[in-house]
Amino acid sequence: MNRPELVCPAGTPAALRTAVDAGADAVYCGFQNATNARNFPGLNFTMPEMERSVAYAHAHGTKVLLAVNTFPPAGKFPLWREAIDAGNQLGVDAFIVADIGVAEYVVTTCPERRLHLSVQAAASSPEAIRYYCREFGVRRVVLPRILTIPEIRAMGQEIPCEMETFIFGNHGLMVEGRCSLTNYVTGLSTNMDGVCSPASQVRYEPDARGGLESRLGAFTIDCFARTEKAGYPTICKGRYLADCRTGPYYAFEEPISLNLSMLLPDLIRSGVHAFKIEGRQRSRAYVKSVVSAFRTSVDAILAGSEPQLDDLVALTEGRKQTEGAFKSKAWR
């Protein structure tokens, strides 16, 4: 049985240290700009912070994976080039990229660095993945959350690189790296600006009865009654009024989080090389709880004992969790 790497999120240096201390094998993080897909206000790393964080992680035997996983718009490539150059200079262990131009730049300037293919590349077929491996020497692919475990096992037989799967966190099934819902409403791009539902255009309006209206740009995307759990203010998880339905309904997806605690043994047997925890935008408290829980579970499975699974539902979106397509394509 292979020992899967636990890849954990860090939105700040303190979160990185928390992840390292909680048992992360690798931490992924990004710079404070549009080069990464969590370009949120007050989040991410300056160059000096990244330097100190890489040193801290390496001193504790933890790898640092630099997310440079957005798509540079024409004429703005220098920012992405600077991020790669900085990561190379600081000695990060791998780059996580989605764009073929960025991948080419890594291969050309620092071929000794590992290249991981971001989920933002939406590579979900053996043909697509083999293309990235052949052309850019990709060593690991982060699989989109649309494959069943048997499909992942079969994929592993057909590709020449490692596989990484999400095991906890955001469960967004729009075609990753291709979703433009935010663009239509806000004018900013998830894939090029690195921000889905920019906070500057999000407004919450509480009402006197304890309800909450969630708005993005000029649109109301959900209204929560006093006792209802809430979700992120993303278009794909909003409730809408449409002529074809009576009352508001989730036109795309529901607020819900992925939790594959119970499927870890199957995933390990399927040859998955790394487990990814989503949530660079989340707090140190989240990082500590989730990383610790999965560290304990993975170690228990590898030791041949029953995993002790902490209840993580309190940290899930809408306080709901799913095994999504990993369990069955009929999950909805």
Binding site: A14, R226, E228, S283
Partner: protein, 171 residues
């Protein structure tokens, strides 16, 4: 959101009652800004934002403006009409857990224990800035008041059912 407002005479009395608190709050915000300059750095353009922090189970709200050189933290009776850019509301113990880095702000939002309104970007930035500190802001505030302060925070943690976990400092 619970927003029991007090009639004007009660608010006036509360304002007087809060007077001894104001210099303490001023000292707290000054000390925290000095201890954690990285908080102000992360706030960036939101240093001049006026945040109202409203413990819904206490009779007062706090007005915070984290502007270097012109820091402001002041208590007002709940219901006082305060000009602000962003408002953060929740029960006192939940807010304390947030600044003690023991609770995830997104999870509190999902469960509706935390209500925010106004400038969401400012609130998200403040949340991220407060989360990127060594130790916790709550610990530092308690330490300002010596052993009684630390004992009070320890008592609140016990009462709330959590124990603070320190992060290691950057080498």
């Amino acid at each position: 959101m619970v927003t029991n407002e007090f009639p004007p005479p009660v608010r006036a009395a509360l304002s007087v009652a809060l007077l001894p608190l104001q210099p303490l709050l001023g000292r707290i915000v000054t000390r925290i800004a000095a201890r954690y300059p990285e908080i102000l750095e992360r706030l960036g353009p939101h240093q001049s934002t006026r945040f109202v922090i409203e413990p819904t189970d206490l009779p007062f709200a706090l007005l915070l403006r984290p502007e270097p050189g012109d820091l402001l933290l002041r208590a007002y009776p709940r219901g006082e009409p305060l000009a602000c850019d962003a408002r953060i509301s929740g029960r006192f113990m939940q807010l304390l857990r947030l600044i003690d880095c023991d609770e995830d702000g997104d999870a509190m939002f999902f469960s509706r224990d935390l209500v925010i309104s106004g400038d969401t970007e400012a609130v998200v930035t403040l949340r991220n800035a407060l989360d990127d500190v060594d130790g916790s802001v709550a610990t530092s505030i308690a330490a300002m008041f010596g052993p009684p302060g630390r004992a009070a925070l320890a008592g609140l943690r016990r009462f709330g059912g959590w124990s603070h976990r320190e992060t290691r400092e950057m080498p």
